[in-house]
């Protein structure tokens, strides 16, 4: 796979599959033994765990993702993104606030043979909490 093909996998994941809530399509672009170094508490292992994770995000935030930048080398793809949403459902135990927000993050994926196989990220939880009115 070229780095351009790897980038296309990540763009498809963020902008097409997540935004259209197409969980079934994850079978095509995520390896079954997907390893998440940034797992949510209680997130199960592998692709099945990733499906739980994104379903939780859909329910909690109804988010829309935008990819602002992509950088790739070898089998690694970095995506700088934001998503906008509304806190309409419980999120990791936080009761819904009904507030709208835009959240920033940078994700790093390993892509192996056309499938996402490993993941690290840092997201701006501080900014999210501020916008949800959860900080003192």
């Amino acid at each position: 796979m070229t780095i351009e093909a790897n980038k296309a996998v990540i763009r498809r994941y963020k902008e097409d599959i997540l935004n259209s809530r197409d969980l079934a399509a994850l079978d095509l672009i995520v390896s079954e033994d997907y390893l998440d170094h940034a797992a949510f508490p209680k997130q199960g292992p592998g692709r099945a765990g990733l499906k739980q994770r994104v379903a939780h995000l859909f329910d909690a935030f109804d988010p829309h993702w935008t990819v602002h930048d992509i950088v790739a080398e070898r089998d690694i793809v970095v995506a700088r993104w934001s998503h906008s949403g509304i806190h309409r459902g419980e999120f990791l135990g936080l009761q819904p606030t009904g507030r709208e927000f835009t959240m920033r993050g940078i994700d790093i994926y390993r892509v192996t043979a056309g499938k996402m196989s490993e993941h690290w990220n840092v997201v701006d939880m501080f900014g999210l909490y501020q916008q949800l009115g959860l900080l003192p």
Binding site: P41, V71, R80, I108, V123
Partner: protein, 144 residues
């Protein structure tokens, strides 16, 4: 400049400017018209404001050590995934020093032009830092 050369420039920023507190090295390592996309409060563009940012970090947190966990480069961009470990010795952004230790993660994206840092974005886990310093309650949420 090759991508490997650009990585070397960025590594010097963490290893020498931040970890060894060689702030004057920024004259050599960053362009005069440096562009900051994720400024600290009050930070504008330019080398002088970058120096003030680094001085602010080093003044607030001593010791402070960054560990580079991964470096990814393409074209003029260099991405660094890092963790740090520090002590809130001087207080930060107007908050009095807590004296507490912290360790958090961040990802930086740098643009390198002509062997100098020219532009920057980042996401840092500031919430975890504030929680570790006891400035924000640990949410019951995250633990469960």
């Amino acid at each position: 400049m090759s991508e490997q050369d650009n990585k070397a420039v960025v590594r010097r920023y963490y290893d020498e400017v931040l970890n060894q507190r060689k702030m004057d090295l920024l004259d050599e390592l960053a362009v005069e018209d440096y562009v900051e996309h994720d400024p600290f409060p009050g930070q504008g563009n330019g080398l002088a404001d970058l120096k003030a940012r680094v001085a602010g970090l080093c003044g607030a947190f001593n010791p402070l050590h960054f560990t580079i966990e991964d470096v990814i480069a393409e074209g003029d961009k260099v991405v660094v995934r890092w963790t740090n470990a520090g002590t809130d010795s001087g207080g930060f952004m107007g908050i009095p020093a807590t004296g507490k230790e912290f360790g958090i993660a961040g990802i930086d994206i740098h643009v390198v032009r002509g062997a100098k840092l020219a532009e920057h974005w980042h996401v840092v886990d500031q919430l975890a830092q504030m929680q570790q310093l006891g400035l924000i309650p640990q949410p019951e949420a995250a633990g469960d």
